[in-house]
């Protein structure tokens, strides 16, 4: 029974990873038409280095993701602390307002942003994508930091205050250092959300400001070479390393307080 169950898990993992493995392998296959049998070549990676369009899009992606991570983390952390540590009217309603960016299909949020930004003159482009990505990332930051806050006892801060520390000092010297791993985890999460975002960017991008996923999509639609596999592989590598960093940082935050 146990063996059958484990074989089943293995089959599911093969299903999850097989196409990705094929994608990566085809980036190292010489044939521009993806013809098999396989013959190794790093030609497509070399080619990639001189593809202006893809390089520019990659740079845009990383830059937008980095700025998104900073803004969303600062705003989201402030909101998370207020939502979990301060008493005020309408808290439940504010919590509910965090759901639309996560729960509404991106197609709808993306097209709505397109309509509104066009209407108000904000327009499309780098800044528009940035506004959209930050909005999509904030709820995740609030969630991750909020979870971190539940593992930190509020009475530590109260103890500091009863010993004479002003509230702000108590927060910065007691809660914030304990919260740091969660905040860093949230920033990584926001970075990943932005880096992987396609739909919203697709509707807001202009030719010069397109991000990597948008460029990949238009290449898939218009015709492509294994160069696209190469750039996809690099993107995969980026996401996976962020994930590993995230598991490294988000966990110690939780386990440290339990000790």
């Amino acid at each position: 029974m146990k063996l059958a169950a484990r074989t089943y898990i293995l089959a599911v993992l093969i299903f999850l990873y097989l196409p990705i493995a094929v994608l990566i392998a085809m980036g190292f296959n010489e044939s521009p038409l993806y013809q098999l049998p396989f013959s190794f070549s790093s030609h497509w990676y070399v080619e990639l280095m001189s593809n202006r369009k893809l390089l520019n899009a990659s740079w845009n992606s990383v830059l937008i993701a980095a700025i998104t991570a900073v803004i969303a983390t600062v705003l989201g952390t402030l909101a998370a602390v207020a939502l979990s540590r301060r008493q005020f009217f309408g808290k439940e309603a504010l919590r509910l307002l965090l759901l639309p960016p996560i729960a509404i299909p991106w197609l709808i949020t993306g097209t709505a942003m397109l309509v509104f930004f066009y209407w108000t003159g904000i327009g499309r482009g780098f800044h528009a994508i940035l506004i959209g990505h930050v909005a999509l990332a904030i709820p995740y930051v609030v969630l991750v930091v909020g979870t971190g806050l539940t593992t930190i006892r509020a009475d530590l801060e109260e103890a500091a205050m009863s010993l004479g520390a002003p509230p702000v000092k108590a927060f910065f010297r007691v809660t914030l250092p304990l919260l740091a791993p969660s905040i860093f985890g949230a920033a990584l999460f926001a970075f990943a959300v932005s880096l992987d975002q396609f739909v919203v960017s697709y509707f807001l991008a202009t030719p010069g400001s397109s991000t990597l996923p948008v460029e990949i999509y238009s290449a898939i639609r218009k015709g492509f070479t294994p160069e696209i596999n190469a750039v996809c592989t690099i993107l995969l590598l980026g996401s996976v390393s962020i994930f590993l960093l995230f598991t490294l940082f988000a966990k110690p935050g939780a386990s440290r307080d339990r000790s």
Partner: protein, 308 residues
């Protein structure tokens, strides 16, 4: 432990919060709360709420207000399903894709979660869980694209088949409904595994042992105890999958080709090619109403399983 963590950071200037000076004048508490919340909610208003409002008003316009075109108020775009009967077929395709994807994810994901919860433990379980979640962090577009390498004619699937039987006919099924569903199942399966796993690990072993010692067969235990107890996970997983799938447009485009006409692709077309924004907006809001209906129906289950 907390003490040494606290002592490691240098003293932070008290003005860093911007609103609360440490001594002397102390701002009222409500103002501090407001200052902390305002940036986030102002941003969400600008980027999410106002756009949705703008889209709602667009959906009642006779034409896209580009240039000097006269626009008037109308309900006609909400009648699109009656006026343009082909949309009913499109909606049916979308629904079919959504239901199949959710069903397949539920079956495969439930048993994966069950196997993880009952047949693995400790380090192995942790590693396997991470391996299941990991693809989730990778770009969805890249994963969909990767399937085209596998299921196209002369792709990896054919290579595999021909290594067994050299004259095998092509098994490639790219540009078909099953291809779209396959890509979507691949993309959303981790959701279901996670939600089911969270529900399943809470089941107490002694309940299952009690059932078995009373003579219940494996299938009886599965259907009468495990599945009902995993129901919240199955339901919230299904909601989390069905909702984004019903609005998918990139997967049907890439894996469905000309066959991949769904509500998602029709909406996208209204905004990028046909420039019939009012129709696109009305269709979007029709889907949004469906989505909100689903969330309202299952909100109790969703809240319970998210608090686990």
């Amino acid at each position: 432990m907390p003490a040494d963590a606290a002592s490691r950071t240098p003293p932070t200037p008290d003005r860093a919060l911007g609103a609360v000076p440490s001594a002397g004048l102390r701002l009222p508490s409500w103002l501090v709360t407001l200052t902390m919340l305002l940036p986030t909610y102002a941003w969400l208003t600008l980027a999410i709420l106002l756009p949705l409002g703008a889209m709602l008003s667009f959906s009642f316009m006779t034409a896209t207000p580009l240039g000097k075109k006269e626009v008037a108020f109308t309900f006609k775009h909400y009648r699109a399903f009656i006026d343009q009967p082909y949309l009913i077929g499109v909606a049916w395709t979308s629904l079919l894709i959504g239901l199949w994807t959710t069903f397949l994810c539920a079956v495969v994901g439930f048993f994966t979660a069950l196997a993880l919860a009952r047949a693995t433990a400790g380090r192995l379980r942790e590693t396997l869980l991470i391996l299941v979640i990991l693809p989730f962090w990778t770009n969805g577009l890249v994963r969909v694209f990767s399937w085209t390498m596998v299921i196209r004619e002369g792709g990896f699937l054919d290579l595999l088949a021909r290594s067994v039987w050299p004259d095998a006919p092509s098994l490639g099924f790219l540009y078909s409904l099953p291809a779209i569903i396959l890509g979507l199942v691949h993309g959303y399966l981790p959701y279901m595994v996670l939600t089911c796993y969270i529900a399943l690990v809470t089941i107490d072993d002694s309940i299952l042992e009690a059932a078995e010692s009373l003579g219940a067969r494996k299938w009886t235990v599965l259907w009468r105890i495990i599945v009902p107890m995993a129901a919240p996970g199955l339901i919230s997983g299904s909601v989390l999958i069905f909702v984004p799938v019903i609005g998918a447009f990139m997967e049907p485009r890439i894996l469905g080709g000309p066959r991949g006409v769904t509500l998602g692709t029709v909406i996208e077309e209204q905004f990028t090619q046909a420039f019939n924004w009012p129709l696109g907006a009305a269709l979007s809001f029709t889907i949004l109403a469906l989505v909100l209906g689903i969330f309202a129906t299952f909100s109790g289950v969703l809240r319970r399983s998210s608090s686990l």
